[in-house]
């Protein structure tokens, strides 16, 4: 069975996936799999979040389509109007599901939309009508200019085939989502180190971020501007330590990295003999 593999870090929010979806499904009818997509629906949509402040910020984009869950609550709510195909794609039958507005609320990912004109709950079909006609992938995948989306065999989602750990979006919903993710947004800690004595940026400072309760430890060194960024940090409260030979060690306590954080310009003083 094939599924979408989404590398969130690669997404540049061009929205070509959204619009390829609309191009395929708005004004076009693909019976028996889908009726025309209603206006204002996003069967796939780029969600954006910004974190940090000042000159250290991060913009995260996460493409969010129907997860075609293995344990899909919409199937249960559909009472026969929603079904899973042999290839794993979850389909809302556009005839049987007419009038079933409750389906919209059944999806914890909020990926089912109400078409008021057709009185129909609608969602992503993974372009099943095209796959059935020997197309290789759904429209959103072909339209992506950065390979943030790909269409892969589930069996191939193994560590040796992936360039980052496999993740799922909100596994806690308990629906066994089938869409695979890489590089979902995570907290980060960034700042810069300088020496006030000489007013110079400090390159090569060892930066350590530690949380004993979490058992988490991250380290990096500063670049020529004295800048550092620790990415993909587990959410938590940390201790940040700066070390460089010839300088006094500095420690920041209670660095709140439950979200991305800019710890700003940090001073490191020279040892004075």
């Amino acid at each position: 069975m094939k599924t979408l593999l989404i590398d969130a870090e690669r997404c540049i929010q061009c929205c070509n996936c959204q619009n390829a979806c609309k191009d395929e499904h708005c004004d076009n009818s693909w019976p028996p799999l889908a009726a025309p997509q209603g206006p204002g629906q996003f069967w796939i949509q780029i969600h954006e979040a910004q974190s940090g402040d000042g000159s250290r910020i991060q913009v995260d984009r996460t493409p969010l389509p129907c997860q075609h869950c293995a344990d899909a609550p919409c199937i249960q709510a559909g009472k026969g109007a929603v079904y899973r195909r042999d290839d794993g794609i979850v389909i809302i039958d556009p005839v049987k599901a007419e009038g079933m507005r409750d389906l919209v609320d059944a999806c914890p990912y909020e990926k089912i939309f109400w078409n008021d004109e057709l009185k129909l709950a609608q969602k992503c079909t993974l372009c099943a009508h095209l796959l059935d006609s020997n197309w290789q992938e759904p429209r959103c995948v072909t339209a992506c200019p950065v390979d943030a989306l790909s269409f892969v065999e589930e069996a191939e989602l193994t560590p040796e085939n992936l360039h980052a750990p496999l993740e799922r979006l909100h596994p806690e919903y308990g629906t066994a989502p089938r869409v695979a993710y890489l590089n979902l947004p995570k907290p980060w800690v960034a700042g810069a180190v300088y020496c006030p004595d000489s007013d110079s940026c400090l390159e090569g400072v060892t930066v350590r971020l530690v949380s004993e309760p979490l058992g988490a430890f991250y380290t990096t060194t500063t670049d020529f501007l004295g800048e550092f960024k620790l990415k993909d940090v587990e959410p938590g409260i940390y201790r940040l330590t700066l070390n460089k030979e010839g300088y006094q060690e500095k420690t920041l306590r209670k660095v709140d990295a439950r979200e991305g954080i800019n710890v700003k310009e940090l001073r490191l003083y020279e040892f004075t003999q």
């Binding site: 950065v146 670049d223 501007l225």
Partner: protein, 880 residues
Amino acid sequence: MATTMTAERDVGQGVEVFTTCSTAGPMFVHVKEGRILRIEPMQFDPRKVKSWQVEAQGQTYKPPLTHPLLPWGITSKHMAYSEHRVNYPMKRVDWDPYGQRNADKRGQSGYARISWDETFKILEDEYNRILDEHGPSALCYTHSAHPEWGSLHYLFSDLYRFRDLFGGTYLEFTPNSWEGWASGGPFLWGFWMGHGIPPAEDTLQDISLESDLIILWGSDPMFHNVYNGIDTARLWQWWHDLGKEIIVIDPLFNETAAAVADVWLPLYPGTDNALAAAIAYQWIVDDTYDREYLDTHTVGFDEEHMSFEYNEAYLDVHPAWRGNLPEAGTPGMSFKSYIMGEGPDGIAKTPTWAAEICGIEARKIVALARAWAKRPTSLWGSLGGQCRRTFGHEVARMIGTLITMRGMGTPGNNLIGGGLSLSGPYDGQRQLGPTGYADGGMNVVLDNYYPNPVAQAKITFTKLMDCVKHPPQKWRGGHLDNFGPEMFFDEVEYPQPGCTEIRLLWMRGSTLTNPPDHKNNNIAYTDPQIETLVVAAPWFDRDCRFADLVLPITTIFERQDITEPASVGQYVPPAYNSLRSAVYNQKAIEPVGESKTDLEIFEELACRLGRGEEFMEGNTEETILQKMFARTNIPLEYDAFKQEGYYVWPALDDYVPSKQFQRFHDNPVGGENVMETPTGKVEIYSTLIAAFYGEENHPEIPAVPHYIPEVDGRYDERRKKYPLQQLMAHPKFRFHGKYDKDPWLTENYKVYGEDGYAYEPCLLNPADARARGIADGNIIRCFNDRGEILAGAVISERVMEGVAQMTYGAWNDPLSPEPGALDRSGDGNVLSYAGPQSIHHVGGAFNSSLMEVEKVDIDEILARYPQGAAGTWSSWNREG
């Protein structure tokens, strides 16, 4: 119908697949029962592609087989059938070409459908009348800066041929994309044909292999949006993965920064040259610049290189300068003297000095300068907002000087300006030209070429109002093509002796890059001096609202052409980063409504005026395309190419790269390697500027590049009243003003007010928003002395404090009919500065704009303007 890549998959019964290419890139167009069913990015058949590739650090980059489309590409089905299409010819209801013209009602009256026959009868009568009464100089033509893509169906092709056949005045654009490089760059190092930008040759490979540090200075290459950008997205990812450090210097945390930047250094707009001067200062005190290179390749860097020997070949071509150029520079006026504070101003351009001005800490300026001196560095520094402002020419000359101090031509050191100067392997042969987009189109392949007989060739677009309202006028610079210094130094007169004022204005396309200080054009358009205003466009927007006649034009889906996809390959042939290819624009659908091509309209009018044979020489669209194709080296028959839909030139086996500046680096005095300057060298001290503007450092354009505080900028008195600097980076989901009303695009970026209206976003820093009590999503008024607009506040750390991103291109929707009225659409050009760059060039300085914002009660405003709130004067209202 395209035969490739569709054989293996079932596109459905009765579906035909066509090829075409738009400004967004090449595409497959699926058509069923005469309507577009879907639009896909073009997918080259791997069996038909022999790709080039670059290898670095054991990793390989190959351009994609599926050509990425810019955002408006995938949505273009929507635009083909848009409610805003002009479906048939329309006449303004109260414009009577045989009686009352009511010019003052332009922008207010409605339109009535008329037949093509009536349209041509009116045009024929108008042309005959104006030619009889005033002569051809009264006929004026202009065009949108970036219309639909094409070789035959393009402004340089059909419009130029028609204009020049009868003669006419040209309302011209300037090189807005890299304005300061056009007005400054050539005085530093020539490259006149490229408007001052050095060539792109082999930069892609050199960056991949040799560059360690990448500096994006006022540059957002991934979403620059001039036919390209998105096709470099994978390349940026690759460079990032290779470990190249990417530093972004920009008032905005731009899209490329969001994707791949390691560090963002926010810089206050318009202070770029202060930063550049301090970098030069640091290199001088550290002695880390290429002194030997400067000695042999440049003049005017220091006091020891201020006597000039001139290149005889240059003086032969430009004899007027022989004997009129300085033998030596004035002592104390060298670049180094200026930087070190040993020149007339006595100010050392230290990092501390610059930090105060540009907002980047002194220690970071020092560190940046030192890293740049140590590591092979590619600078994305040409184009961008820093050169589209007052004294923009100084930015080009200063950044060019920095690049020169690094010994340009050495591995890994490059100067890039978006897609224009990024190029993979290219041999000068694999292209459609010279019939291409920039080269005259049909004029190249037809038997006769007609030079424009009218002496009054040009009005710069920002001078239209002055020319219409207050003739006579005189100005300098402001040309689209600049082949030599005379184009800046020679004064333009309007009307020119023997010519007349313009009476008819014909616009090929609605102005997509609408002019700064928007009310100026409205004032000109509503003047009775313009007796006839014709707009030929696919969509009813902007200038259509002021037209007397609106002519419906086909989109690329409704006609045939041959093009080169995306990037800017067809505009700047060596600038190409995809698979080098040609596309046949197959006619996918019949013209929507009664639309015609510009070519058909010009042909019919030429026939009625008795010159049809001269215009077409017996050709058809098809025979012209055959002639264009015959000039290419594509090894296919025309019919086969047309059927196939595209051709990909194979990678060259014996390709020898020759990167930017390498030949000049290796041999600066040899024949064709010399720079196109009077000395043949890089003129850090410009002998032409010194000769023309004086050797005592003209305050607006001195002999060596200076930091000059800009007009309407950080140190302008007006900042007390208007404390925010307006930033007008290209819109991400719009091609200038095109596709502003496509909901599939607008739902991604516009701010939908409680009144349901899609307001243009204004990006504000949280500190600026807080100080004014503005919350995210509030409707705000942005204003200055030039005008006022409404916008939706988007509060974001992505824009630095003191700066507001308020871009251009929204379709104007004034709430009352008078020029300068409050514009609900949020078109940033209502506010932007329309003055000249300097005494040297009247071209675009529109990024030098200050403004203020305030929260408004939108209900109260709409109640005050009931007619305006109903859209009475909106760009797209044709009912009146």
